[in-house]
């Protein structure tokens, strides 16, 4: 029997040497004359174990990791092809607690299948949602998505079905589905993992969105910082087109839908939907005022759905299993599951998909294992560079759109970045303002000027220069930015700044630095 070895081609795995490990295993197989197939998959999301090698055994896949090039001969000696024991052995992959505790709906196939095998995709429940959708009316599809309770996974949390319905009812000869894959938030990588690990699910989700709204063209706008995701996505679109999943007749139906990948050029603000649309049109990525809503006047002024990767990639399972199935997961008004990304100074970083409702403390301490450095946790930033810093005393906050908002935070794209007690929260506040200044599109004054003034005020605080006045000024500035900015970049930069100031006041209380007399 030919052995099967699975090894990720995900960028996170590649960043820690997966390619060299794959080459070494291939060379070892050749020199030992062993018949085996190396299948390159996406990542399972257990990133502290990357590069993680899996082998197929009678009991299921067995994992080994983190594997380095020098471990490879030893793995062969130990009989890893039969799933035998080795110091790097993790046992059956599906029994690894980090994976076993998850509810994988959006990420069901990621890390399991060959991302560019449509045959694999079908074998693991792929295209079932789209098959159902082609037999439904547009209104029925929209109703299903609305009833599932799915909300925008990019961060805003707007109900996906309601957005789709607006586009469905809008008049227009050409409508568009735009996938926002401009995943620029630090601590997030779920979009990248889907595009690299299960690209067909995104294609399927976009095709369903097309059927539901009458849109026949789709664009995936992603980042130039994601070369592997771009290549995989483009290859997958080509395969889907050839197989009749995309094109003039989607799965043999009377519906047409086709799509392409467009690449940004290093502007964070293009993750904001109106800025993204301008960028797609070939303009500077300036934010547009709303209204008009993109649903009515979006790309090239036409009705446009703009959805995050995770929202679209979740649609196929909703259509396949039904709205009720999905809706039953979660808490309050946050239905379904969220692919949470654990990152930064954390012992077990990776992708953890779970129903809404899990607390921040469970995520960081129990699932994430605390800090990588072994030092106490000081702060956790949730939701990227525009998300609030949470102190340990707020670890009982459940992962839920409303619960985070109630504590002056946001779940955003569900990135969780852990900092240990060496973090200086004044520096983090300064960085938030600096980042906003670097990435501001420049259209509105609170963001463009406010961010630079913010850096200056924090710098004065750092010198202990009249701290009470600076804090009052910073607070007022944050108010202006929050309520006066056109988009979330200027509007949400106050979250990290004010949360740092509120929860860690001691870091802002600096002794005056004696300046040399002039």
């Amino acid at each position: 029997m030919s052995h099967k070895i699975y090894l990720p081609r995900d960028a996170a795995a590649l960043s820690v040497g997966a390619e060299k490990v794959a080459a070494t295993i291939a060379a070892e197989l050749a020199s030992r004359g062993i018949d085996a197939q190396i299948i390159r998959t996406g990542s399972r999301g257990l990133h502290w174990l990357e590069p993680m090698v899996e082998v197929k055994t009678a009991k299921g896949r067995v994992a080994y990791g983190p594997v380095t090039v020098k471990d490879v001969p030893g793995l062969f000696e130990a009989g890893f092809l039969e799933g035998d024991d080795h110091p790097l052995a993790q046992g059956l992959t599906k029994e690894i607690p980090f994976l076993k505790g998850q509810t994988r709906l959006t990420f069901a196939r990621c890390g399991v299948t060959d991302p560019l095998s449509l045959e694999d995709y079908r074998k693991y429940e792929g295209l079932k949602g789209l098959e159902k959708a082609v037999a439904m009316t547009a209104e029925e599809i929209v109703t299903e998505v609305t009833d599932s309770g799915l909300r925008g996974r990019g961060g805003a949390g707007f109900p996906t079905g309601i957005k789709w319905n607006t586009v469905r009812q809008a008049q227009g000869t050409q409508k568009y589905i735009v996938c926002n894959a401009d995943e620029g938030d630090s601590g997030t990588f779920a979009d990248r993992m889907i595009m690299e690990g299960d690209p067909f699910v995104l294609i399927e989700g976009m095709a369903i969105a097309g059927l539901a709204t009458g849109a026949t063209r789709g664009y995936i706008y992603t980042r130039s910082e994601y070369p592997h995701a771009i290549a995989t996505m483009r290859a997958a679109i080509g395969i889907a087109r050839k197989a009749g999943v995309l094109g003039a007749s989607v799965l043999g139906s009377t519906h047409a839908f086709d799509m392409e990948v467009r690449v940004g050029a290093g502007a964070y603000v293009c993750g904001e939907e109106t800025s993204l649309l301008n960028s797609l049109e070939g303009k500077r990525g300036l934010v547009r005022a709303k209204p008009p809503l993109p649903a009515l006047e979006g790309l090239f002024g036409r009705p446009t759905v703009v959805n995050n990767v995770l929202s679209l990639a979740t649609v196929p399972v909703i259509l396949d299993r039904g709205a009720g199935f999905y809706r039953d997961f979660g808490v309050g008004r946050s239905h379904g599951t969220m692919p949470i990304q654990l990152a930064g100074n954390i012992k077990y970083p990776g992708l953890y998909e779970t129903p809404f409702g899990i607390t921040l403390g469970e995520l960081v301490n129990e699932i994430g294992g605390g800090t990588r450095s072994g030092r106490p946790v000081k702060a956790v930033q949730v939701g990227g560079p525009l998300g609030a810093y949470f102190p340990v005393d707020l670890f009982d906050t459940p992962f839920d759109y409303e619960a985070f908002a109630a504590r002056d935070g946001l779940i955003g794209h569900a990135g969780v970045v852990v900092f240990d007690d060496t973090a200086d929260m004044l520096e983090q506040a300064r960085f938030a303002m600096e980042f906003c200044a670097i990435e501001s599109c420049g259209k509105c004054t609170p963001c463009r000027i406010g961010s630079t003034r913010g850096v200056e005020v924090v710098d004065k605080l750092a010198k202990g220069d009249r701290p009470d006045e600076q804090i009052a000024l910073l607070t007022s500035l944050c108010d202006t930015m929050k309520f006066g900015s056109l988009c979330a970049l200027g509007g949400f930069t106050p979250y990290p700044v004010m949360s740092a100031l509120t929860h860690f006041p001691e870091d802002f209380n600096r002794k005056p630095i004696a300046e040399a007399a002039e």
Binding site: A11, A12, L14, S15, V16, H47, E50, E183, D185, S186, G187, T188, F189, D191, R192, R223, S224, E225, Y226, P227, H228, A229, R262, V263, G264, A265, G266, A267, Y268, S279, L280, E281, G282, K283, R284, G285, F300, Q341, L342, A343, G344, N345, P349, L351, R372, S373, Q381, G384, P385, G415, V417, V418, D420, A423, Q428, F431, F435, I438, E439, C441
Partner: protein, 158 residues
């Protein structure tokens, strides 16, 4: 003369690139990427040529070119090292790592080493936050780095 090509040659090659993108909706960013790919930057002549062919003003094309961090006015070094400065990398020492890299290369952000080998660019997230700190050397990702590992990467690059 720019990039060792006559203005006419450069304009002609840019014209060909624009032609290859004529069937796209909103073709400007794909065109700028293709020009950047071919010449390592978007030179002034290219802006003029693109503007002519797309019926845009030079100011508009210049405005787009300069809005995005990726489009360069001058070519970079033989390699581009993008070092992540964002929060997840900060939480595991990215600021010190970046200082170390700048000192080791003897250059600041956006600069190129005197031998023309490496251009150093800051980047705000590579999506490798679970394997931080991370860099992208040309198109290859590297994670869980320390200064010695980055030095080795740069040394190995030709």
């Amino acid at each position: 003369m720019a990039l060792g090509l006559s203005d006419e040659e450069l304009a002609e090659r840019v014209g060909r690139i624009v032609g290859m993108h004529s069937d796209l909706e909103g073709p400007l960013l794909p065109i700028l990427h293709a020009v950047e790919q071919e010449f390592g930057c978007v030179p002034e002549i290219a802006i003029r040529e693109i503007a002519d062919r797309l019926n845009l003003s030079r100011a508009e094309v210049h405005g787009v070119r300069t809005f995005y961090h990726d489009f360069r006015g001058e070519p970079a070094g033989r390699h581009t090292l993008k070092v992540c400065r964002a929060e997840a990398c900060q939480s595991v020492g990215a600021a010190d790592l970046a200082d170390g890299i700048r000192a080791a290369l003897g250059i600041d952000w956006h600069e190129t080493t005197p031998d023309g080998k490496v251009t150093l660019e800051p980047v705000y997230c590579l999506g490798l936050c679970s394997c931080a700190p991370a860099v992208l050397l040309d198109d290859a990702p590297y994670g869980r780095l320390d200064l010695d590992a980055v030095r080795d990467l740069v040394a190995e690059a030709s």
